[in-house]
């Protein structure tokens, strides 16, 4: 669960990469609604990870997944861009979603990791 905190903090910090204009520091696109969505879900991931609340980590993960799909659909359809993002936003949101859902999903009995 500690990693959920790391992913949440990473997502929150990644929003800073949307602020500068022009290369190389403008790495992702985000509008004000996009900031709010990402920061809210990052806060959920941090809180869930900090308090070992698996359900909250999963909510943050699926929320990010929904946001990534929504952003992609709007880009494909064209016209409105509610989150103010681009494909880099899709990639980043998807990464956060995959990570949080993976570590938030119920686990089987832990064992020692073999060296493969």
């Amino acid at each position: 669960m500690k990693l959920a905190v790391g992913i949440g903090v990473g997502l929150a910090l990644a929003t800073l990469l949307a602020i500068p204009q022009g290369l190389p520091w403008h790495m992702i696109g985000l509008g004000v609604p996009g900031y709010l969505v990402v920061l809210a879900l990052a806060a959920a991931a941090i809180t869930g990870g900090w308090h070992e609340r698996r359900s909250l980590v999963l909510i943050a993960g699926f929320g990010l997944l929904a946001a990534a799909v929504f952003q992609l659909l709007e880009l494909v359809i064209g016209g409105q861009n509610t989150l103010g993002g681009d494909l880099s936003t899709v990639s980043l949101l998807l990464g956060g979603a995959i990570g949080l859902v993976a570590i938030g999903s119920p686990r089987t009995a832990p064992q020692t990791v073999p060296q493969t």
């Binding site: 696109g29 998807l94 990464g95 570590i103």
Partner: protein, 170 residues
């Protein structure tokens, strides 16, 4: 070799593990930013077709140029979408460190495609492409998802299920 390098890093200092994590995340961010100027709308995908055309206009490896000219460009709505999907997923998986060795290999393949398309375009810097390879080799050799990545959390679960492909991919 990748296994022994990963083992060495596992028993190394916090600084070394932090640096391996940073290499993985920054390599992932390379792909995240790399899709920012592209568009998911066919037929040109926001300039992707122009860069693909460079493989024909500035050939690096003639058989690859032939393949691009006669297979990729005629079917660009499909190949362009595939390239975008691969690059979006590369960024997503490398940043969080899930199935990292598998995605490092995919990244090496995509870097090869980009190199064969753009290396001889005037103004391009050879070392940009060499360093892209180096970054992915480092991620692969150190199994970088095991340090601050999702692989580190999930490998015990995969071991319990004897999920050999996932263990190999991570």
């Amino acid at each position: 070799m990748a296994i022994s390098v990963a083992h060495e890093v596992q028993s190394s200092t916090r600084l070394s593990r932090g640096l391996i994590t940073a290499v993985r995340v920054i390599t992932g961010m390379l792909w995240v930013q790399n899709v920012s100027w592209k568009s998911p709308q066919p037929p040109n995908y926001g300039g992707l077709r122009m860069w693909t055309q460079d493989a024909v206009d500035h050939p690096v490896f003639p058989p690859f140029s032939w393949l691009v000219q006669h297979v990729v460009l005629p079917g660009f709505p499909l190949f362009g979408a595939l390239a975008l999907a691969v690059e979006i997923l590369l960024g997503a998986f490398l940043v969080v460190g899930l199935a990292t060795r598998f995605w490092a290999v995919v990244g090496i393949g995509q870097t090869l495609v980009i190199t064969l398309s753009a290396l001889y375009v005037p103004g391009e810097w050879f070392w940009s492409y060499a360093l892209m390879f180096v970054a992915h080799f480092a991620v692969l050799a150190t199994a970088a998802g095991r340090f601050g990545g999702v692989d580190a959390v999930l490998r015990p679960r995969w071991a319990a299920r004897n999920a050999r492909f996932l263990l190999l991919a991570s």
